[in-house]
Symmetry: C3
Subunit: 306 residues, 3 copies
């Protein structure tokens, strides 16, 4: 587990450290970050921060999935580690969604964690981990990105910038990475159907009211709040943390086969000619480009319906 | 499916159109409305609006149940249709509740949809339909009316006028049309028990906080919001919509036998002499009359307890 | 059932009555209160008020458990009684948590109700009772106290003073009295994990947003609100109340074996040497003393992690 630099200086701003490298601990963080192509990681005691940095817009493609698999494997093998915090290095995009041009490829990367070519099962693996996971969310979190943060144990979002969406049904798809399983349980039938069938954008405040996230917080307090919470949890005995997760998961985390079924339905759906037609129409209008996706909800609503 | 008029003029106010008939499309809407005694329907592309108009107060009796059964059957057979919006033509009453003097009669009408004399199963049929259903709620929504909107896929209510209640326990009854199944899942044990055991009125704002509805909206924006949402969903491929509903229902919609059991318990309950005595006492005080039910919560609280 | 004084004077303030005894009915209430060491009880028609009064800080130890068992047994045997309201005579503490120095002893008292030495099963017995139970909450409600109010059918808390917490994981424990079962269902996976893994204090407003309680109300309206609600419910036929509870419990109350399993895990956890070490460290810093527990969240966060 020497791929993580151990820099117990929790009084420093990780965002600053993960940018330019003006100090010794920043250099150490930089060294560890080199282990990944799309993640910048930094360990502070029993807390590991992983910042997603996959320009131009943090699409969830093969490289990011490969790095997430490695990160999870290394973190779970590190007996000192208790808490894993996911953040984004891009203020506009946490993760926009999967790269729809490389579905087969990223699925194959996911298989390296669970033996099955499905990000739904990769995410569920994370939910079932003994590690405590926290998503610190700024920017857009759509599709599989929403499913990734839903797989984390807790989700805190910047009130001013976080935007949530499950856009799949606008493209004739079911969310295949676990959104159905999580949202139906978190927000109930009516709101889960609204969120998914509308493919609309939801800001952090409404996402909080619907139970999509734990809390929306002012952007300028978010980082301190999450860091304080992460380090508080990291001071508690691991046995208590693990048994609480296990017992809560027994109630509130759907069985593997339900995640697998949704994942398979997504896989079948993308081969549908109508879905292919809509993917092409969306790509033509700027889908998977940074600027056009700033208002993805409108782009999807304007797609010709046949 | 020629009982619906197809008038693709979504720039017009449906409330206006469904009132007096000053235009061609209004006349078409009027023509289609004639197919039903208690519903005014209007089709706009793949969206069908059904306005409940059963004076004097929209009681859910045999005529309205008969029309709802016909509407559901026709709508499900219409391959062009994707979204069904339920509204009320009466600003004070969406539906007050069932007509307690005609329980056997309206149950027999419901049997024409599902083969079983139960509105619980009629409502559940709607929840399981491939059609997306939206309730646009103004006025009072008590008892089976609450159960009807709970059976819809989404519920949006006018902040100023919508009032929700499950008054059955005040009359010694269990809500028999699905409220137990939906409310326990949507709002959790504590709030579901409070709502049902208290038989109180809940305004739209509190209903939103409790998860009874998706959102409370200002009355003057409600109609535009619902129309925009309905037409957005109606532009998406039907296969994606249907599979999302199916997967969410597998998690969050109770099995048929649980709805049937509640329905049977209601049927047994109304034959109880104590319940009969309370129904009579309530009727004597104005139950099932328009004015007295404006404050039904008080009427029920003032009933003599023996 | 003559241990309760019947004083049908609902126009009097129970707090006043339960203090000094200036009136006839207050004297009667005092007489009944003598039946219990740690509870002051008062019956008003079909409503019984039980005020927890176990100085210096209402710890849930053998005496209070013994009294709760007696109260529940007597209340369930009283055919006139419909509603049970739990309150605290101490404005700072509803109940702080169990007495960790007498776990075996209070568990044995709980066994007198259910045959099993577990407060989880005592609480679940209350949830399954035909009696309607309401918790009126002022002050701190941590650990098993939170689990006690979660076992009640409804929870209303003073916005200014109520503080909620499940501090067990800070001591290496799982909440063993039902919190896992209730919180995972009431607030969903993410918030339930946050609440338990953080061992933080939550004020009434946030507890309401998370679904921990039904509602947070201004302290000066809380008592009237609860009394009005209790007496309203008490005027309704008992058959309707009981069947609603039964049907909601069938959906939203976890099976006995899940409560038993959590209870057993807590029992195993407290024998763990690491947990014993943390209990001792906490006791040394003022755990189980009135002043130090005013800010228990900080005390727990400051415990040395090894």
């Amino acid at each position: 587990m020497d791929t993580f630099s151990v820099a117990d200086t929790i009084d420093q701003d990780p965002h600053q450290i993960l940018g330019a490298a003006p100090s010794r601990s920043a250099a150490a963080a930089h060294a560890s970050a080199c282990a990944f192509e799309t993640l910048k990681v930094r360990k502070e005691g029993a807390v590991l921060y992983a910042d997603i940095a996959a320009p131009p817009m943090n699409l969830l493609g093969p490289a990011l999935v490969r790095d997430l698999v490695s990160l999870i494997q290394q973190a779970e093998a590190d007996s000192d580690l208790k808490v894993l915090v996911f953040r984004s290095a891009d203020p506009d995009y946490f993760i926009p969604h999967v790269d729809v041009t490389q579905i087969q490829q990223y699925r194959e990367e996911a298989a390296k964690l669970t033996g099955e070519a499905s990000i739904a099962l990769m995410f569920r693996h994370l939910s079932a981990s003994h590690l405590v996971t926290i998503a610190q969310i700024e920017g857009r979190v759509r599709g599989a990105a929403s499913e990734f943060v839903l797989a984390c144990d807790m989700r805190f979002a910047a009130r001013e910038s976080a935007i949530f969406s499950q856009p799949e049904p606008a493209l004739g798809q079911i969310p295949g990475g676990g959104a159905v399983q999580h949202l139906a349980r978190l927000m109930g039938r009516g709101r889960a159907l609204e969120v998914m069938l509308s493919a609309q954008d939801y800001d952090a405040e409404l996402a909080e009211r619907y139970g999509w996230i734990n809390r929306a917080l002012p952007a300028n307090t978010l980082s301190d709040f999450v860091r304080s919470l992460a380090h508080r949890i990291a001071r508690f005995p691991p046995s208590g943390l693990a048994v609480v997760k296990e017992r809560v998961n027994a109630i509130a985390l759907a069985p593997v086969e339900d995640f697998r079924r949704d994942s398979d339905l997504f896989g079948e759906g993308v081969r549908n000619p109508e879905a292919q037609r809509r993917f092409q129409a969306a790509l033509k209008r700027g889908f998977q480009t940074r600027d056009a996706e700033l208002d993805l909800a409108r782009l999807l609503g304007d797609l010709p319906d046949r």
